[in-house]
């Protein structure tokens, strides 16, 4: 009885939430017994993992040598193809960066990661946790996101000197803000007791189809926006929670067979701080570079009063095809209006959508011809993740008030009728 009593008291001291604990952080500190146990086991586990890896790699190296010549030829062909692809993507990326700087996006970009090896698990189904071989000595901190090239894995929960615990996204205590890639529905993906991923907060009148990709929304302030989470496998009405759907997700990362992961140790707030982006440019300047038919606007010219003016003539007066203005070697694959910097910006949209069930609908609007504002969908093609290029991401809204949205532009928008913008051909300044 005494043993039980001591344990219950000890348990109670851990469960009690300390006063003044910061929201989002674990309520109690790491228990000494946990630190001792993990620290004692970690070197042994590292040794076993390293030994196993040595033999496994030795065998794989031998096996991989067979047929390597043929594979080399195939890879060279692939490299050549990818180099051509890269040229095109670089053009797109440059354009996206310019437009993001223009809109002063406050998006998180990965700037530093630490590769880590999985050395242990929790060993129970009641807790989906893994142990990695990097800890506070490697500048790992709690709540850092953990990813693989395939998608997100989880977040760092506890940090020890030589190792860390990572709470997987399929744990029932885990959660992440997500967006369904094509329908743009927002939700929270959570783990279940059986280790599955589910979204439970999307209304049943929304249309969700199997096979749709799910990406991170960035709203949880842990995972960077646009990373792959998984694929919808089924969407059925929730019997216990009637107006909602139960959307089952197949994780993009193979969570049950993780060997190496990346811990994101540093993220930068915006592109400018990374030094990757160009100097801020006005939308009219960007468009005038791309469309020779657009006259170069004079920045000192007086501003036309009250106009939703961009200084860009309507398309009917500048019929130059976008492809004609592409730099040499840039295979497009873009729609002409996108390539020319024209957009679909006529939708008013708040930067933070609280509703988890609303569709934005921005992609359904007709493009406002002739406007030199940035595309609403020009979100973070995150540099490190090729999967992070949603077609129509929710972004801070665009301004259409006549002045091009410079760095200080407020992230709210006034809807601009398409014909209004098209009719005003005088440069504002």
């Amino acid at each position: 009885m005494a043993v039980l009593f001591i344990q219950v008291v000890a348990l109670a001291t851990q469960v009690k939430r300390p006063e003044g604990a910061k929201p989002g952080t674990s309520g109690s500190g790491t228990r000494l017994i946990r630190v001792w146990t993990v620290t004692a086991f970690t070197p042994v586990e590292k040794m076993f993992v390293s030994t196993g890896r040595f033999f496994r790699n030795g065998w794989h190296n031998y096996a991989d040598l067979r047929g390597v010549r043929k594979q080399n030829r195939e890879l060279q062909d692939e490299v050549a193809r990818l180099q051509m692809e890269q040229v095109r993507l670089r053009q797109d990326a440059d354009q996206a960066k310019r437009l993001q700087v223009l809109l002063e996006f406050k998006e998180k970009f990965i700037s530093k990661t630490v590769a880590a090896q999985v050395i242990a698990t929790s060993g129970t189904e009641q807790s989906r946790l893994i142990t990695i071989d990097k800890g506070s000595n490697d500048h790992i901190k709690p709540d850092m996101p953990v990813i693989t090239p395939d998608g997100i894995v989880g977040k760092v929960k506890e940090v020890f000197p030589l190792s860390s615990h990572v709470l997987l996204i399929n744990d029932h205590d885990s959660g992440a803000g997500v967006i369904l890639e094509s329908s743009r529905l927002q939700g929270i993906v959570k783990g279940t007791s059986l280790g599955e991923l589910q979204i439970n907060d999307i209304m049943s009148d929304e249309k969700v189809e199997a096979g749709e990709h799910v990406i991170t929304s960035g709203g949880d302030r842990i995972y960077p926006k646009g990373y792959a989470v998984g694929t919808v496998t089924a969407a059925t009405p929730d019997k216990d929670n009637d107006p909602f759907l139960v959307i089952k997700i197949k994780p993009a990362a193979d969570i049950n067979r993780l060997e190496e992961v990346l811990v994101i140790t540093e993220m930068s707030d915006n592109l400018r701080s990374t030094g990757a982006g160009p100097e801020p440019m006005r939308a009219a300047d960007i468009l005038s570079q791309r469309l020779p038919s657009v006259p170069k606007v004079d920045p000192n010219a007086p501003k036309t009063p009250g106009g939703a003016q961009t200084g860009v003539p309507a398309p009917k007066s500048s019929p130059t095809p976008a492809k004609a203005n592409q730099p040499a070697g840039a295979g497009t694959g873009q729609k002409p209006e996108a390539a020319s910097g024209q957009t679909k910006p006529t939708v008013t949209e708040t930067a933070a959508t609280n509703s988890t069930t609303n569709k934005t609908g921005e992609g359904k609007k007709q493009p406002a011809s002739g406007q030199a504002t940035a595309p609403a969908g020009a979100t973070g093609s995150l540099p490190a993740n090729p999967k992070s290029t949603p077609k129509k991401a929710k972004t801070p809204a665009l301004t259409h008030d006549g002045s091009t949205p410079g760095p200080g532009a407020a992230p709210t928008a006034t809807p601009a009728p398409a014909n209004q913008a098209a009719d005003q051909e005088k440069p504002p300044r």
Partner: protein
């Protein structure tokens, strides 16, 4: 005359003892294998629980059985994201029940070992859930099919594992 009587039969209740390396090494090895081997099957199998049951019914003394269960459970807790003590309390109770049961029934028979382990896995799960939901504020769901599968797998594993661990018993 007594040669046909099992050393652990009810007629001759013997408290088995184990060497210190075995008493320490087997539980530590069980926990190590549980967290180290990333085999999905092992997540259903609860090696620390099986070791707790084995030592409890072999020693047949409630106090050492409880302490053994508490230590094994607490070490196991260190690897989970839960507060320390959830598995500790559950395995303490199993240690007590196992050592009490070992006095009353023949626990050397494979059939009784299977049934005993099957029941203990269910009890362990029930205690765990009670602590998790009532004391810790967890949100786990009780899934009968999964729990029964786990009990079945652990029961079968116990028959094999206990037979192997019998070799470590110290005979007088």
């Amino acid at each position: 005359m007594n040669s046909s009587v099992s050393l652990t039969s009810r007629e001759e209740i013997e408290v088995h003892r184990f060497s210190w390396p075995v008493s320490l090494g087997i539980p530590v090895l069980a926990i190590f294998l549980q967290v180290f081997l990333r085999v999905r099957f092992l997540a259903v199998l609860d090696l620390p629980l099986l070791v707790t049951i084995f030592f409890a019914v072999a020693r047949r003394r409630p106090i050492p059985g409880m302490i053994n269960g508490a230590l094994i459970g607490t070490l196991q807790d260190a690897w989970t994201g839960h507060p320390i003590g959830v598995f500790g309390i559950a395995k303490t109770i199993i240690g007590y029940l196992g050592s009490s049961l070992g006095v009353k029934v023949d626990v050397d028979n494979p059939g009784s070992r299977f049934l005993m382990t099957f029941a203990f896995v269910l009890i362990h799960r029930f205690v765990y859930m009670a602590i998790s939901l009532q004391l810790v504020g967890g949100s786990e769901a009780w899934i009968w099919s999964h729990t029964l599968l786990s009990a079945l797998v652990n029961g079968l594993a116990a028959v094999v594992l206990f037979a192997a661990l019998d070799k470590f018993k110290l005979r007088n």
